[in-house]
Amino acid sequence: MRKYTSKTDVQAKSYYNDRFYVTPTLPRSKASDDEVYSKDIEALSAKFEISENYVENKELVIYIQPDKNVEVLTYLKEELEYDMCMELSAVDYIASRGGFEIFYEMLSMSKHRRMRVKTFIRQKQPLESIINVFKMASWSEREMYDMYGVKVVNHPNMKRILMPDDWYDYPLRKTYPLTGDEAASWYEVDKIFGKEARDIIGPEIRDCAAIDRYDTERFSRLGHEVPFGTDITDGKEPEHTPLAYQEEGGVRFIKKLNEEDSVTIKERR
């Protein structure tokens, strides 16, 4: 029987884990230890519900309610001088917690500080677009939808950005395999030749490391060369293969090279 593998997370896994290894954690400090962040946190908690906050790698991280994202970001932008949102995206926690963690990476140019605003949404819970606060969300939220399938509402042009419009499934989810799923392997065949050609062409091999030892057209075999296109699927290989290399009487690349006349220059002229 085949060994059971979880379908909720098909990402690469380490194949050996030391039972006694204790994973260290990146040190976190309190926001109140930092003079700038402590004021920010004070101002924020007076107006909004901040469920958690800490400083990790010199950067403040706060957790907010998902329905308050626009209000918090507007407040950060207008009152607390965090006037740029540099990045936003999601982290897939569907398998463990049933949803996504959304983060907004804020930058304050006057304070020289960064702040990561995080919120957790369930898998199909809609998220309000922040495009009216930060225009960069026009593309970032599209990318987030494209890659994770996070439903962003009130975005004027919510469609895929990196993948084709008719792509099936969301590539950055943990359930999506690295080499693509079944639909991905038929995508180009269907698109170029049509569904009816599936039987003739077969699925696209999307594993770039795939090797077929019987395929003598696309794979050469070191040490046991067989001529191009020979059928060796029955296991019988030709015992002796006449080999002719290009160097032996073939066409030379540089015809008129006289080796005695050539010099190696020491410096670029």
Partner: protein, 409 residues
């Protein structure tokens, strides 16, 4: 089996004439030489004026973030080369710095000096490439030839150091793999001298050139508000009058010790960005010249000493059993960083290049987000292009210095 041509139905035909509102759709790219990569730009024209622009990206999408989550940390480093392939060391460095901050280690001083040298050479390579291709797009063909010649010298320096010219992977997590070859610093000094005179020549060709100014001045004006809204960074942001260079404002590595200016523009137009590129090249040469004595004064250690994360030097691996075992484990299984999240931004030649790594303690990143500056510089075109003439499109795309390797990732 023949390809059935009609199966591939594009969403737009190349050109729509005579629509109801009498605008014309022009499909610019994705295979257009001055789109600087695979960008599809759907332009709606009223006469020659653009009324709506819809940039389409994704033609170079390789799923690097997915790859980053399926590779051990050292394995992913060469992949980062393929982001901004014009200045690949800047990506390597950004990634290595992010992982180093996650691990809580620091590269030794000599490694840091070499890295900074490579970073600045890459900045020059990127700016020269930008100047060459942008001038070619606008019509100044000879600048292309001159700038590529100097870029070649910079690439020779890179080649002398690491053997590669385009995708260097010359920076490793924890330091650099090699010391500088003998006489490299002299070559660098010589190159700096050549470049300073050549930059003057480029400026002589372009700065007061009537056609160049007509094509660039007041074209593609990005005001401060728009630049901040669209998360612009790097030269695009500085040309709009914001003094924001991460090397200076949120410094990392050796930059606090180095003396250089951050030039800013005022108008936010293409010409201001051109001026900034030229000034930045001079500043970069200034940095490179300061680095040479710093290199000579530094100790010879090249990789950080952190046995649980970084392999020991080759001599130790070859002589000491435990180092060999450790190395074997690190290569086959990968390092296991602490649990945590880092967002580490560096100033790449294009702008703020950041790596966000979420680690759950396993040898594979739980989430790897690559923040590429060009992504928003392209998105910006939606807002920037309307109102411009069709001929300005090429100027603006070329001027924003977008590289599709990092937009699509």
């Amino acid at each position: 089996m023949q390809q059935q041509v009609n199966r591939l139905k594009p969403f737009f035909e190349n050109i729509h004439f005579e629509r109801e509102d009498n605008t014309m759709m022009v499909n610019f790219g994705p295979q257009h030489p001055s789109a600087h990569g695979q960008m599809r730009l759907m332009l709606e024209l009223q006469g020659e004026e653009i009324v709506k622009a819809t940039p389409g990206v994704g033609y170079l999408h390789r799923g690097m973030e997915k790859m980053g989550e399926n590779m051990i940390y050292n394995e992913f480093l060469p992949t980062t080369d393929r982001m901004d392939y014009i200045a690949s060391t800047s990506n390597n460095y950004g990634y290595a710095l992010a992982v180093e901050q996650l691990l809580g280690i620091e590269a030794p001083r000599r490694a840091e000096v070499i890295r900074t040298m490579l970073l600045e050479i890459n900045r020059l390579m990127s700016h020269l490439f930008w100047l060459a291709t942008h001038a070619l797009d606008v019509g100044a063909m000879s600048v292309f030839l001159y700038a590529f010649r100097e870029r070649e010298f910079a690439m020779d320096l890179m080649e002398d150091y690491c053997g590669a010219r385009l995708t260097h992977s010359a920076v490793r997590i924890g330091g650099v793999p090699l010391d500088l070859p003998a006489g490299w610093c002299d070559d660098l000094e010589k190159f700096c001298g050549i470049l300073m005179t050549e930059v003057e020549k480029y400026e002589g060709l372009l700065t007061e050139n009537r056609i160049w100014r007509m094509r660039l001045e007041n074209v593609g004006v990005i005001d401060t508000q728009m630049a901040k809204q669209w998360a612009c960074s790097g030269i695009v942001l500085r040309a709009s009058g914001v003094k924001w260079d991460l090397r200076r404002e949120m410094p990392y590595g050796l930059y606090p010790e180095l003396d250089f200016d951050v030039p800013i523009g005022e108008t936010g137009c293409s010409y201001a960005r051109y001026k900034l590129h030229m000034q930045e090249m001079r500043e970069t040469v200034k940095i490179l010249r300061q680095l040479i004595p710093m290199y000579n004064e530094s100790e010879s250690q090249l990789m950080a000493h952190a046995p649980e994360y970084i392999s020991a030097p080759k001599e130790e691996i070859m002589t000491q059993n435990y180092s060999l075992m450790q190395h074997f484990v690190l290569v086959t299984q990968g390092m296991r960083p602490p649990k945590g999240e880092v967002y580490v931004a560096t100033e790449s030649p294009k702008g703020e290049l950041a790596f966000m790594i979420v680690s759950d303690g396993s040898p594979y990143a739980y989430k790897m987000k690559l923040r590429a500056p060009s992504f928003w510089h392209t998105g910006l075109l939606e807002d920037l292009l309307p109102g411009h003439q069709l001929a300005d499109v090429v100027t603006i795309i070329g001027n924003l210095n977008v590289v599709f390797g990092e937009i699509d990732r």
